[in-house]
């Protein structure tokens, strides 16, 4: 799962245009000190959809359930990676 978390962090870094080393679990994605504006979040979600397809599942960010979790899901790089892994494991 660490490997998946790392891949999510790499995608976050690529969308943000920063070095992957700058992304850790506590890196804030939205809110004060955020890394992304809301449009970048859309790009990020599309890339996570692609990664999920590669891994054989659907990353859901458009259902009502996912949208209601979106504030907490996108809070930090770690929370997003955790949500991605939870969906991959069918736990979300």
């Amino acid at each position: 799962m660490l490997n998946i978390e790392q891949r999510v962090f790499e995608i976050i870094a690529s969308v943000a245009g920063v070095k992957p080393a700058l992304i850790d679990a506590d890196k804030q994605l939205i809110g004060e000190g955020r890394l992304f504006d809301s449009m970048k979040l859309v790009e990020l979600c599309l890339l996570l959809e692609d990664l999920a397809t590669e891994l054989g599942f659907n990353f859901d960010w458009t259902s009502d359930a996912a949208m209601s979790r979106s504030v907490s899901m996108f809070r930090t790089a770690g929370s997003l990676a955790a949500e991605f892994i939870a969906q991959m494991s069918g736990r979300s």
Binding site: M39, V42, E43, C45, L46, E49, N58, T62, S63, D64
Partner: protein, 225 residues
């Protein structure tokens, strides 16, 4: 692929026929699709989950969606004071929320291509404030406001969002509107004549053309107001 909602009747069906004649790949969405002579899927646009399921299917098939045309709509020519609440709710759900849902859920498919065009549909009733169309006009005024704001949100992704606002075009939607009422509305247009679905298809064709890439967030009134 071009996705057209409200594809089974009226303007939606005419637009599908025009696009197919121009050799576009078209996917029609409608509540009833059994008799349609082109690829179509059953979908009530007022249902977020139904729209979402179709968007997911298209993504799963790696379909490239180049345009979305939101013609699905219902009308009720009635005074606001005598319109039952369930009718008002249904009009807002189909016309306004249906348009929003389709834009939300098919929009990402166009963002993937970094190119796309969305055409929403309003009505002359918004600009003219037509008596007996207050709920319908309210739903379409929402579509116009949404179009202008959503166009800004999508411009970064090279997706244009525009809106066509026809007058009384001869389609099923005009059932129950008298000839005198139609003549009165038409007389208030700048070009005072009733247009056919073909005129609307011409505008759709123009908005889908690469030559219209400078237009976004516009409300185009057929006949002018």
């Amino acid at each position: 692929m071009i996705v057209v909602t409200g594809a089974s009747r009226g303007l939606g069906r005419a637009i599908c026929a025009r696009l197919i004649s121009l050799e576009h790949e078209v996917l029609g969405l409608a509540r009833e699709v059994a008799e349609l002579p082109f690829p179509a899927l059953t979908c009530d646009v007022a249902s977020y989950e139904q729209v979402r399921a179709i968007a997911q299917t298209l993504r799963g098939r790696s379909e490239k969606v180049s345009a979305l045309i939101n013609t699905a709509g219902i009308a009720s020519m009635n005074l606001a004071l005598t319109t039952p609440s369930d009718v008002s709710k249904r009009i807002i759900e189909t016309n306004l929320l249906g348009t929003i849902y389709c834009c939300q859920l098919f929009g990402p498919l166009m963002i993937r291509n970094k190119l796309g065009s969305i055409i929403n549909f309003s009505t002359i009733a918004v600009a003219l404030g037509l008596k007996g169309e207050s709920i319908y006009a309210a739903s379409k005024a929402g579509v116009e406001g949404f179009t202008r704001a959503f166009a800004r949100e999508m411009s970064e992704f090279n997706v244009n969002v525009n809106c066509i606002a026809p007058g009384p075009i001869a389609t099923d939607l005009l059932r129950g509107v008298s000839s005198a009422q139609i003549a009165e509305i038409v007389s208030r247009q700048i070009i005072a004549r009733q247009f056919t679905p073909d005129a609307v298809c011409d505008l759709v064709e123009m908005l889908l053309s690469p030559r219209s890439r400078t237009l976004s967030g516009e409300i185009l009134h057929v006949g002018g107001v």
